[in-house]
Amino acid sequence: MCRMAAIKAKTPVAPVHLLRMMLAMQKGHDNSGFAMVMQDLGGAFAEFKKFPLLSMAATSAGVERAEKILEDLGFSPKFDYKPDVVNDTSLDFKRMPHYVFRNYRYPEGLNVLHDAPTPEQKKLLLDTRLKLRKALSHENQGYVYSFWPDVLTLKEVGDPRDIGTYFQMWNDDHWLKARVISAQCRQNTNYKIVRYAAHPFFLEGFTLMGNGENTFYQKNKEFQQNLHRAYIGFESDTQCFLYSLHYVCSELGWPLEYYKHVITPLTFEEMRARPDADVLNRVRQSLMHLEINGPNTVVFVLPDNRMGVIADAKKLRPYVIGRDGDMVVSASEVCGVNMVIPNRNTETDLYPGERETVVINNALEVERWQQ
């Protein structure tokens, strides 16, 4: 089972917390990678929150190719952070020659900055990321994870401890900080994974990670591949959860509560008893192929940086949310939460139920509702 950990804090925190949580949850021969998405950034990128930030790992040829594409599209570099790394060959992970974390200016005509990208800017950012991804897929020239304002992504295959060492992330005071961080350590099931298969995944402001096996992966995938040009890859069955979230909330514009209705519909018996049975029936019929059938826990971040947790309808994967006044810390196992906020009141810990949606808003208030 993949170990997941997430933090939503009032003030930006360093990723060291996530590394500690992961190691606490590690069992035996486990953890074959580390991936995280950071949002609402502090640290080095705090001043450039409205400029799209490219997160990429590439070869020299890949970097060159990506820069050329971006330049041709009219993007110009605004701020570039080249991380200091520990070049120790004994570190157990597959490093890439270059890690690019760079803010760009929008092309002329679209370069008015807003709190959130405009529809035109969104379209351009997405098209650009897809174009970069496709271009760099030749000869494994690189991986383009996200290209979005105020979002940074890192995905590596190897021992999380060594990945942390390489990027010097074992410091509480790090160049990377964020108010929202979600991270996952892959289980050891498959050493042949590609970086794109590591969650959390990011798409147009939505971030998502999940654990467990998506037993309806094939149904999800076959349905999603025709729904949106960005629903590609499918290197991991967890990607499907992100695409469904994006489809329901962004493409259809439905309220968040319907995400749960789509992925884990109520039983027919429960549906019949409700006044909105007709709507739920229709939703279920139309989006039957987006259902997930467990066992999974899904952790997501919305474009407005609210964070949420949903479990599958049979609640076969654990997840716990702990909190104190300054941060909400959640993890697959309670020992992970204990690494960050050991002195919290554990009576306020939440274990999301099979029909529950839990959302943490930006004031760190917890909203919970039953499906």
Partner: protein, 574 residues
């Protein structure tokens, strides 16, 4: 070389009576050429084996045989008797009653084994005759062979090459079939793409904002279309009873197609109509009564099924031989006693697009767009083209696509159609589902498949595999007849559904034969089977970790034949 002098044979010409064999007297080789030429039980697919020593001559077998295949006959028999304290053998003869198989092809034994079933001393049984010449003798009189029921000369059964091979082991837990909640319903009715659903957001909730096509959530295994007429009224009634019981008492929304033959008026006007899918086929039989009942209907039917063709005899319309058009069938269908041959096509339909506009729209309008209207076609090389066309139906009035494969059953058909026309169902099901996948339209027109599902008696496994390959559900028919006592099988036994002489009262309108059927017992068998099937479906869903139907989850299957796997896009395993 000795020659036989035909002139010295005893009198053999018998003016129509059965010729008698020469009986010795030095002329043991004397035979009548007609013995060679005439048909004989050795020509038939089944030979009657009768034991004179144990038979008590009760006559039960002869009385039971509905095909007139056996008859009692007096027979002179030589015997050596010895009476008294010391042996004094005396040659003698006696006349005894013998059971003989009738030699006329019209009365050939169909192997139904009713004689064996009723014989109190196990003295008679039909024995399969592998070396028969029946296909050669049965076409006498320039008449094509017709038969009912089953058997399609299928070389292999593809479903048996597929196993449920993706088991939840450690990666995710298997479910508990006995304790978990399973939610196994499937939609009947047109589905809309989510972005075309007439919904709007009001106070953070989705609320309806327009009309949606009618929708029913039903059990994924349904009773296939068999008409009152093809079935005896009591058999039809027994299945209808079972369906009502399953719905009312067991909470299983099983639906039953009426077949092309109408429905009893009382049922049409009852609340139970909601469990039935009314079929309209090319003969429109029964629809006069249905239309007349409409003003008095107190509920809507589950659906309307437009039958274009059926898998067992594609290209043929329904066929109800005059023998089965009894007075009550004449009444329900509004026809005289005659062969009722539905045309091969719906008259007036000439294209897919125009049929959508004309027939689908008419049937939708007939029930004021409250009832899903589906279509049933025989599987064919052209099925995907039809499906693709329907799925683009701009009016959203096509509520289901029923695809019937070659192994389907029928009440009556030409043997040449049964054995040599049709399309295996699985590849066509897969093609249609993948065509929907290609367009992102899976589920918009629910796919139901039939034709051979449950042939081996294991309907749950067959249905499950079809569902994984993309079916929303399956319809099955023959298996319910088997549960009623039908002895027909895929090897050709009985299959006399077309004759009106069904030995167990299922496919006949003869009141004496229908009386052999116990309606309540049949209904109970069907209910019991459904309840068992429901558990078996769960036993298949649990190990793959699913509590809802794995429609299109072909990754749950493995094929034990490379070519089958490749064709169905299922992983090969060995």
């Amino acid at each position: 070389m000795a020659t036989i002098d035909l002139k010295i044979l005893p009198t053999l010409k018998t003016n129509g009576a059965e010729p008698k064999r020469a009986n010795g007297n030095g002329r043991a080789f004397a035979i009548n050429p007609t013995f060679v030429r005439d048909t004989h039980p050795i020509d038939f697919p089944w030979k009657i084996e009768w034991n004179a020593d144990t038979c008590i001559r009760c006559g039960s077998c002869v009385a039971t045989c509905t095909f007139g295949s056996i008859k009692p006959e007096l027979q002179k028999q030589g015997a050596t008797l010895s009476i008294g304290n010391s042996p004094k053998p005396v040659d003698s003869t006696q006349v005894m009653m013998a059971i003989k198989q009738v030699r006329e092809p019209k009365h050939f034994c169909r192997g139904c084994s009713m004689c064996e079933k009723v014989c109190p001393t196990n003295s008679i049984r039909p024995v399969e005759n592998d070396h028969n010449r029946f296909p050669l003798v049965a076409r006498a009189g320039a008449s094509p062979i017709k038969r009912g029921g089953r058997g399609h000369h299928m070389p292999i059964r593809i479903l048996d090459y597929i196993k449920v091979g993706r088991i939840s082991q450690m990666t995710d837990p298997s479910l508990d079939a006995a304790r978990h909640t399973f939610d196994m319903l499937t939609p009947l009715g047109r589905g809309l793409p989510a972005n075309e659903l007439p919904l709007k957001v009001e106070n953070g909730k989705l609320v309806p904002n327009g009309i949606t096509p009618p929708l029913r959530w039903i059990y994924p295994v349904m009773i296939g279309d068999m008409s009152v007429g093809a079935l005896s009224w009591r058999m039809w009634e027994a299945i209808a009873l079972a369906v009502a019981y399953l719905n009312e008492e067991c909470g299983m929304p099983v639906r039953m197609s009426s077949g092309e033959g109408g429905m009893p008026s009382r049922l049409l006007k009852s609340e139970y109509l909601k469990y039935f899918i009314i079929q309209i086929a090319s003969g429109h039989f029964g629809w006069n009564r249905i239309i007349k009942a409409m003003p008095e209907m107190i509920t809507d039917p589950a659906g309307v099924l437009i039958k274009i063709g059926q898998g067992a005899k594609p290209g043929d319309g329904g066929l109800l031989p005059a023998e089965k058009v009894a007075p009550h069938i004449q009444a329900i269908r509004g026809v005289p006693k005659a062969d009722l041959m539905s045309p091969p096509n719906h008259q007036g339909l000439y294209s897919i697009e125009e049929s959508v506009q004309k027939m689908f729209l008419s049937m939708n309008a007939a029930f004021k767009f409250r009832v899903p209207v589906a279509i049933k076609v025989a599987a064919s090389s052209t099925s995907v083209a039809v499906f693709n066309n329907l799925i683009r139906d701009p009016y959203h009035i096509v509520g289901g696509f029923f695809l019937d494969g070659i192994s389907g059953g029928t009440g009556a058909a030409h043997e040449v159609s049964l054995d040599h026309t049709g399309h295996p169902i699985l590849s066509k099901l897969r093609d249609c589902y993948l065509a929907a996948v290609d367009q992102g339209k899976q589920g918009q027109i629910p796919l139901f498949v039939g034709g051979g599902f449950g042939d081996t008696g294991d309907l749950a496994a067959d249905a499950f595999k079809a569902i994984c390959l993309g079916a929303n559900g399956v319809f099955s028919a023959k298996i319910w007849l088997q549960l009623a006592g039908c002895v027909g099988n895929e090897k050709g036994r009985c299959n006399a559904c077309n004759t009106g002489h069904c030995p167990v009262g299922i496919c006949t309108q003869d009141p004496r034969l229908v009386a052999r059927l116990d309606v309540d017992a049949v209904a109970q068998n069907v209910v019991d089977y459904f309840l068992a099937l429901d558990q078996e479906l769960k036993k298949l869903m649990a190990p793959i970790g699913n509590s809802t139907l794995p429609i299109g989850r072909s990754d749950a299957l493995v094929a034990m034949d490379k070519e089958i796997g490749e064709r169905l896009q299922v992983a090969y395993a060995c």
